[in-house]
Every structure is written in C-alpha cells, then in structure tokens.
Amino acid sequence: MEFAQNQTHIAAEQKYKMNNVKKCMFVCFVLVLISLAGCSQQGEWQKVEIYKGTNELDVSVMKSAPPDEVYEDEPFKIVSKVSNKGAYQIENGILTLGYERAFIDLTSSRKSVSISLEGKSPSNVWDDEEIITFDLRSKYLDKNSEIHTTTLLLTSCYDYETIATFSVCIDTNIFETRPKDTTCTVTDKTSSGQGAPVAVTRVEEDISGGDYITPHFTIYIQNRGRGYVMEYGNRDACTSKGIGKDNFNVVNLYDVELGEFSLRKGDLRCSPELIKLRDNEAKIRCSLERNTIKSTDPSYITSLKVHLQYGYTRTDSIEMNILNDQSKG
C-alpha cells in the first residue's frame, strides 16, 4: 500500500517535472523565434540599394556656420559638409565660394577647394563625407544702415557617371514561325534612377530582321538631380568661364553592353554618342550590328548595361544678415 502510494507520488513528481521542462522548452522556443525575427529584421535594415534613386553630391552647411546674423567687422566661418550620396566616385571635384566683396572679406587662403570622395558600394554603404571650412570676416556697413542681407554661393563641379542595367528579352521568333516561345517576352523597362542624378528612366525594345535578327533599344535619359549637366571632364563651371555653349547639358555615352556585345567593341551602333539634353531629357537609339543573332536561335534573356559619363554642377546660395554694431545695444 505504501509502495503504491510512493509510486503514485513519484509519478506525480515526474509529471510535474515534465510539465516544467515543457514550459521551459516553450519559453526557449519563443525566445529563439524572437531572436531569429530580430536577426531577420536587422538583415533587412542593413540592405541598402545603392544603385537606386537620383542621389548626388550634397553640399550643406553646418548649423551656425555661417550664423544667421553677424555684427560688422566680426569673423565667422562657413563649415560646409560635402557628402557623396550617390553610387559613384568623385575625383578632383571643385567646391568654390562666392561672396559679396563689398560686405565680406575672405580671411582663409583659399576660396576654391578640391574634393575627392568615394561612392557607395556593397562594401561601403555609408556616404563618404568631407568637411570644408572657409574663414571670413564681415565688413562695416554703410552709415545709417542697420542690416544687410548678404548672399554666399557654394558651387560644386565634379565628374559623375551612371550605370544602368536592365534584363532584356532577345526574342528570335519574331515572325512566329515556330511555336510561341515562353522563355521571355519583349517589354519596356522603366527605372526611377541608378544612384546618380542622371538616370536611365526607360528602355524600349523592338526587334527587326530576317535570317538574322537585330534588336533595337531606345534609351531614355533624364537629369533628375537639382543641378546641371556639363561636359565630362570640364571644370569651367567653377571658374569665371562658366558654362560654355558646347559643354552645357552634354552627356557622354561611354558604353552600352548587350550580353557579350558592346558599343566599345563595335558590336552596337548608338546614335547620338554625344547626348544633348533638352529640357533635361534625351533619348538614344542603339542597335546590334547585323548578322549577329540568327532567327533560328532560341530566344533568351540577357542584360543591357548603359554607362553614361558627365560633369555635374550645382550652386547653392545661403543668406545671412550683417547687423550694425550700434544695434548691439
């Protein structure tokens, strides 16, 4: 009887322990799930699409440098932060300062600075930044003048590029002599940008031919940034020469690649190669040279890569007030 009671007690204790273990396991399971969910969220947060958007070189000034107001004959600084928010490298760009000589003196030795910044990449998703400082001093205002609003100009000039990649369908069965191929269909491709101010916004494809097919691509280009496009390699926009009549709104078509074929190798013909933007837009038409792809070949999907080069310039103005010394009170 006592044994039976003991057995019952032991069984109850074991059951109790088992329940505890189950509870612990359940809690652990929930914790693991939460941590896994956290990991997956963290992974998504880190995913940065660097070849998206219309980012460019951003020039901003630090708070209070320049200050909103300075008194006459008072030193002040412009601390400018230049950040490359796009996906391409900037080499030997220029940042130049314009100011009203009648009201401001430049006390630092330079008013034009060279800038070189890395672009974003899968290994470096952060903006590459540089801090540039200009030292200035306000001059005396005219007698009876209480306030003067002065304008400061920061102009940046740099070379930039855009690489746009689209997957396109090379449909060889253009006359539908064979049963309809389900590999791919020819459609127009669109994009909002490739991590640069000048974007390839749309690619239209059509295919012509007989025994051999010739794919044609109409590529639409647009300046979607806040600045202006210049000829590649030209820095005149940051000098008194300014924007010249032949180098304004000019984009250089560096290369177009269709799978293993490329413009630079002579497999493709594009027109025009020197692109002139009108109202910030332009289009080019590229065709594969004849007798390259047989119409009897099976249809396939390949990549179309458009590589553009251009100079880019932008001017930002900043206003600040110079106050009469008398109003100091």
Partner: protein, 637 residues
C-alpha cells in the same frame, strides 16, 4: 411650409413641428435644445422663406440636413448659425404681438454694445455711426415688424435721433451739452425702447431696465458731485470729450474738402504716375526698397497742434509740435524750423507771415526730441479757415546699394540658349532689389539688365539713379552731393551721363564719381529726378576667376536738406468790436488809401491795409507783397 426637426439629444415625442408663421414660445426647459439644432433648422427654414420659394426648399433641405447631422453637428451649426438666423425667426415666423425672447435679448445686446462703443468709447467715426445705426434699424425692422406695428416710425425716429445727437451736442448753454451727453449715455434709445415694448413678454427685461436707470442715476450724481471728473471710475472730463467729438457735419465738411483736393490733384497724379511708369518701362525710373528697420530714421514732426481752434482777426496765432530725431550713432543733423501759411493765396501781404519760431536752428542726434513753438505775430486779417504748417528742414544722408551679378557673356548665352535662366542656375533672385537706408528720400539704383554680361561683344550697360521723396509730407529742399561708388573693375563713361559727373578718385576697391549738383534741378524736388550714366567697356578680367558668377555692389551716397511739414487748420473769426471801430474810422482811412494810391513813374501804388500807408515799401508779385511790414505795394503798370 413646415419644417420638422429632430435632435439626437431629445426624445422624439418632445420635438414640436413648427409651422411657418408661428413663433416659438420661450421655454427654459428646452432652451438648450433651442439654442442648438432647432434654431439652426428653423432659422434656416425662415431665411429660406424670405429669399424666395427656391430658397425655401434650400432652407428645408438645410433643416433636414441639420436633423441628420446628429447632436454634435447640430450643436455646432446651431450655435453659430442658429443664434443669428434663429433670432430672425420672429421676422417671418413671429405671430402678431409676440416677441421671441432670443431675438429681444440678441437685439438689446448688439444695440447696447454699439451704444457703448459710440458714446462711451467714442470709437465710431460719423460714417461708421451711420453704417451701424442703419444696420441696427434694419435688424430691428426685420426682427420686430410683426411684434410692433409701429416699428417703422420708431426705427426712423431712433435712427435719426442717434445720427443727429452728436451734432446737437455741439450747441451748448452753460453745461447743458454735458448733461445731454450723460442723458444719451445712460438712456440708450434702442435698448430702452425694445425693453419697454417687450417688458410684459420677456422675463427680467423690466427689472433690468430699472436697475440700469438706478445705476445711471448714481453715476450722474457722482459725476456732478465729484466736480465732474469721475465717470465710470475714471477721470474723464465730458467737456473735453464733447470737444473731441467731431459732428457728422464736421465730417461731411472734411470729406467734401478732402474730396475737392483729391479730385483737383487727380490730373497731376495721373500725369506723374504715367510719367513714372513710362520712365520705369524705358528705364528712366529706378525703384529702391527701404531697408527694414525697427524704427524709421530721420526727423519727424509729431503732435502739431494749434493753441486754439479759433482766433479773431489779427490775433496772434500760435502752433506747436514735437520734433523727434532718429539716427544711428552720433551723427548729428542740423535742423532749421519754420512755419507758414499753406494756402498763401488767401493773404496778399507779407505782414501776416511774420513769424517767431522757437527754437529756430539747432543740432539733433540719436534719439533727441525738441518741442517747437511758432507764432504768427500779426495773425490773419480776414476771417475764415486757414491751413498753417510747421516745418523743419534738416540735413540727412541716404545710402543706397545694388547687388549686381556679372557673368561671362558666352556662359550666359549658353544658359539662355538652353531655355534656362541664369539666376535659376545660380540660385539667385531674378531681379535683385536696390536697397536704401531708412530715411525721407528714396534712392533707387538700377542696371538695364541683370546679370551683367561681360565679354567682347556684350552691350555696355547703363547705370541709373533715381531720387524721390519717400515721405508724403515733405520734400527734398536741396541735394548737397551725390557720390556714386562703382567696383574698381568698372568705370563710368562720364561723357555719356545725363548730368555732369566727375571722377572722384578711389575708395576701398571702388571707383568714386560725383554728380555736379549745382543746378536748380537739384532744389525743391517735387517729383523725382533720375541720373543715368553709361559704363565704359568691361573686360573679362573683371570677373572673379574662381567663381562662375561674380557678385559686386554698386553704391551711392546722397546728402541733402529735407523739409518735413505738418499742417493744422485754424479758424479765424470775425472780431465784432473791431468791425465797429473800423466803421468809425472809415472816412480817415479812405483818405489815407487815397493818399497811397497813385502812379509814380511806371508803378501803381495800392494800399493793402486800412492802416497808415508807406508808399513803395513792397513789391506786389502774383498778388503777394514780397517785403514784410509793408502796407502798400507797387505793381508795374
């Protein structure tokens, strides 16, 4: 028409159906409900009836809309629209002989408010008073036309009474007008009339009227017993208040006078503005923007008053005012004060413009303030109304600046060819404004076109400078100097200027030029003057090599004397006692006049006064003697 309205707040059985033409009796228990959706709905319905049949439908629809809105919306709509429109319910909907308490209280409140603002705070101009009392009459007629059969007659009487009362107050026997004003203040016509009429229909109205009268009685006694200084707890002299109160007739006179002046100046104004706009279009007028300052700079005449509103003929006239200087720093300004007759044609002799001014000449700086007195020692000979002025001539300087953009002409062409604007590309204002320092004179600077294109074939720009009085009551007495500062990279072609301009050397990266102001053009400037100058050719070296756009200022400094004045109207009354004396001495004076009159060589002598003549003392030019203290003037025959 019927409007059935329900509210979410009340059980459906409590909601009455209101027929058109019925008034809604006051019921305190349902007052909340009435003040909300019900009033809005009935009000809207009634309004609809007044406007017409189509509007009736709209009103009903609105009523139904309010019904559906539920208590929240109904409350909101009812509070706003229901108050006014619901009060108007009585107009079309009130049955004869009945008052709606809402409309009675509403009307009493607005009419009492108007009365307080008019008679106690003296806040209405006569024209404003007309608008307010006509509006009250309209309200009264619309609200109580059914309840009061004789409302039209009462409305006319009360409105006329309210409008004429201020004029009546000007006629006084002893302190009768003060008493009259007190009576008017304490017996507001509209509130008393309506409360009297509605005392049996609306609760508390009669009691309130009695309380009001008691309150008035206490205040009146207090005013007279406390030597007429205490009124509503404040030191107010009703006599002064009466003097300050302009009558409707005064205002009409002022209005006619002002209109006459305005109309007579219209052709001149049209001509000036036409010239100005034409000049602006053809770059002959250069606009400037006054610098934004906390306090305007210059010398200001304030509180110019006459010692008395009325004087007798030949009685000494005294006017005074305050001169305030506002200047930055310790730059002193020399000031010369004077006074004179604004409408000089009224007096034909110098003797009446003999004035004594105190202080006459002094220096002011910073925030100085000086009190001025001016006496017309001999007064004015003829009775009538005269405009006299107190004026101060002071030296002042105005600084002007214009931000200019310079750009390489090829670059500008490249940008414009692409349908872009240069200012847009460089984030700059399209038309930079010319600024001038605060003061009485506008100095505007301008270039033909901005940005200024610099290059071999660019058109040589023209610099323009305009001077104009910036204040209404004043003018530029004399321009003493005009200094133009051009960035050192530029130079003016002094041969190609509209006025004589000479080179004045260099000054801190500026080339300095002066305009020759020894010319009558630069004195007593009634309108504006513009000076224009061509630049010499500009080479590309003028541009800042490290910037696509060069920012440079052109400046100007103008020194001048400015006269600021303020007018005051005085009334010269006929001196009855002198008139008698004059009559008694007519014979002898006539003899004197005869002695004065006559011809000597080629001049005709006329006596300008009844007093003793001094032959050939003054010269009569355009009806005015040019020398003072002269009673006779000679005119060329």
């Amino acid at each position: 028409m019927s409007a059935s309205v329900s509210s979410g707040m009340m059980p459906k059985s409590n909601i009455p159906t209101v027929e058109s033409g019925q008034s809604v009796p006051w019921n305190p228990k349902t007052s909340i409900w009435k003040a909300r959706g019900y009033k809005a709905a009935t009000g809207l319905g009634t309004a609809g009836k007044v406007v017409g049949k189509g509007a009736v439908t709209a009103g009903k629809a609105a009523g139904r809309g309010v019904k559906k809105m539920g208590k929240g919306m109904a409350a909101a709509a009812g509070t706003a629209g229901g108050f006014l429109l619901g009060s108007l319910r009585n107009k079309g909907g009130g049955s004869e002989g009945e008052f709606s308490p809402g409309s009675v209280w509403f009307f009493i409140i607005i009419s009492l408010t108007a009365h307080i603002f008019d008679y106690i705070f003296n806040a209405f101009s006569p024209f404003m008073r007309v608008i307010v009392y006509v509006a009250l009459a309209f309200f009264a007629f619309m609200l109580f036309q059914k309840a009061l059969p004789n409302i039209l007659r009462a409305t006319l009487l009360i409105t006329i009474g309210n409008l004429l009362m201020p004029t009546m107050l000007q006629f006084s026997i002893g302190r009768s007008n003060e008493i009259a004003l007190l009576v008017i203040i304490f017996l507001p016509m509209w509130p008393l009339y309506i409360s009297l009429m509605a005392k049996d229909k609306v609760k508390f109205i009669g009691t309130l009227g009695i309380l009001w009268l008691l309150f008035c009685l206490i205040l009146t006694l207090n005013y007279f017993l406390a030597d007429n200084q205490q009124f509503l707890g404040a030191n107010i002299n009703l006599g002064d208040s009466l003097k300050a109160r302009k009558t409707f007739w005064d205002e009409v006179k002022d209005f006619v006078q002002t209109s006459k002046e305005d109309f007579s100046s219209i052709p001149e104004q049209i001509r000036t503005s036409w010239n100005k706009s034409m000049n602006y279009a053809t770059a002959g007028y250069y606009q400037g923007q006054e610098e934004a300052v906390e306090e305007p700079l210059g010398v200001f005449l304030n509180d110019v008053l006459s010692a008395s509103e009325n004087y007798f003929e030949n009685e000494k006239v005294t006017i005074w005012g305050t001169l305030k200087a506002r200047n930055i720093g310790k730059n002193s300004m020399s000031v010369k004060v004077g006074c004179g007759l604004s409408d000089e044609w009224k007096v034909e002799s110098d003797m009446y413009r003999e004035t004594t001014v105190y202080p006459e000449e002094f220096e002011m700086e910073g925030y100085d303030q000086v009190d001025l007195d001016c006496m017309f020692e001999n007064g004015f000979p003829e009775w009538g109304t005269y405009d006299v002025n107190l004026n101060a001539t002071f030296s002042f300087e105005t600084y002007a600046r214009l931000l200019t953009y310079w750009i390489d002409e090829d670059s500008a062409r490249a940008i414009t060819r692409e349908d872009e604007d240069v200012p847009d590309v460089y984030d700059l204002p399209k038309e930079p404004l010319s600024y001038f320092t605060s003061g009485p004179v506008m100095v505007g600077l301008g270039l033909g076109e901005q940005p200024m294109k610099v290059g071999q074939s660019s058109i040589i720009p023209t610099l323009g400078l305009t001077l104009e009085s910036n204040w209404f009551e004043g003018k530029i007495a004399k321009v003493k100097s005009i200094k133009i500062l051009i960035p050192e990279e530029l130079s003016l072609n002094v041969e190609a200027c509209s006025d004589s301009v000479f080179v004045g050397g260099k000054e801190d990266k500026f080339n300095v030029y002066y305009v020759d102001v020894e010319n009558s053009k630069f004195e007593n400037i009634d309108n504006y003057i513009t000076i224009r100058c061509k630049f010499n050719e500009v080479s590309n070296n003028a541009l800042d090599p490290t910037s696509p756009i060069t920012l440079r200022h052109i400046k100007a400094v103008v020194e001048y004397d400015y006269v600021v004045y303020e007018e005051v109207e005085i009334e010269i009354e006929k001196d009855v006692t002198k008139q008698d004396e004059e009559e008694a001495t007519t014979t002898s004076n006539k003899e004197e006049i005869r002695e004065c009159s006559g011809t000597e060589d080629s001049y005709n002598y006329e006596c300008m006064s009844t007093k003793e003549c001094e032959v050939a003392e003054g010269v009569l030019v355009d009806g005015i003697c040019t020398k003072s203290n002269s009673y006779c003037c000679r005119t060329e025959v």
